[in-house]
Amino acid sequence: MSNFAQTFSSSLGKKLIMSLTGLFLCTFLVVHLIGNLQLFKDDGGQAFNAYSYFMTHFPPIKIISYLLYASIIIHAVYALVLTIGNKKARPVAYASYKGEANSPWTSRNMGILGTILLVFIVVHMSNFWAQYHWGELPYAKYEVSLTDPQDVKVTPIPFNASVAEPAHADYVDSQAGKKVLIAKDLYKIVNESFQQWWYVALYVIAMAAMSFHLIHGFRSAFQTLGWDNNKFVPLIRFLGVWVFGVLIPLGFAAMPLYFFFK
């Protein structure tokens, strides 16, 4: 085996992969949350729809999104490989095993939490991401007055199979004194999805799982990298619990709840 293959098939090499993909997914969460805050804007989805178009069409972001899909898959596959190895390492289970006496609950349930998240990601992506790319999506036309940005006219363009799909457009019509945006209306899909209580429940449960997964996962990733410098550990722990374990899951969970109760 080459040194390279040997490194990544060793226990520590596999853990390195888990750590790096996990941290990459964490940085993605920050970007995803900040971008999606536009859902809270009460503008008929104008900002959110413009942002969705940008995220799916700007080339550097497209490249990063492929990296992201790869990371999700690699993180899940390596987790499975490692878990199978761990089960093999203890073929006979203890009759009595007091895990709670020596380790936090989150750290012992990363696999279950991760599986919930994987199911969630599949549902989430097939409902929004796949819809956006290949689904039968309505469009919306936004006309914003150049003199008064508060003066917005929104015209929904429902999906109609018998006419050609409208083209995405974003231009300034100086004669009419308007800025015009015609974009796929993902905002409407989001709004409609989050009217179903069970869908909102799925999201809230998944975010709870994400919170527990990251409370252990974030700091664990640094430990795996060997970065346990006393100067940084308190900061890493703080970020892991309060930012990735509390703030980010709360932010995401607020979105379905906002649409449901709006």
Partner: protein
Amino acid sequence: MNLTLKVWRQKNAEAKGKLVTYKAQAISPDMSFLEMLDVVNEDLIKKSEDPIHFDHDCREGICGSCSLHINGQPHGPKHAITTCQLHMRSFKDGETIVIEPWRASAFPVIKDLATDRGAFERIQQAGGFVSVNTGGVPDANDIPIPKVIADEAFNSATCIGCGACVAACKNASAMLFVSAKVSQLALLPQGQPERYRRVQAMVAQMDAEGFGNCTNTGACEAECPKEISLTNIARMNRDYLTAKIFKEEEV
């Protein structure tokens, strides 16, 4: 004290074992856990039954032989002690105590509660040493070592190789043990020439023995009788990844 014991009995490595219930009667709270088992064994011998097999040697917490998983925890409910240092006053009269061997495919059961921990020896033989003769005693302060570093190396060196870390870990991972053995030498000047070979060779042997993969639960650190800390694992990870990714040194 009177106690009910549920003890894992297994004839040999191949046989299927099971928990067998015994009564431990008239036990003094001042007895150590192993002395309590001695009393039970004397009863068994009198009844010409096969006594319970368990490992022990020093009975003062320094050899790492004793290895009992007691009521769901390696070395029992108390913090930072070995089974031989555990006293019966830590239990209640009338309590039921479940006693099992370390459970790991890399530690096969020899008989009853005794396991073969040769895997640890083989990991040590793969690189847990300094390959030069020590020679005569050097002058004091010939090799300057900061006190904090010397202390840290000494802390790592207190690992007695008992295997409680593997037993406690939900993944049966040996990383706490291996990292302690890597660290005690990696921290000191004498360990430097072989530092990056050592960590690669020992991790490779650890993987070959079939131990699981650490998920940083911290169970090992909490159960280790010598309080070896997770910092050792971070240091091993750092050295290993440095060796594999930034250094050219092969094993």
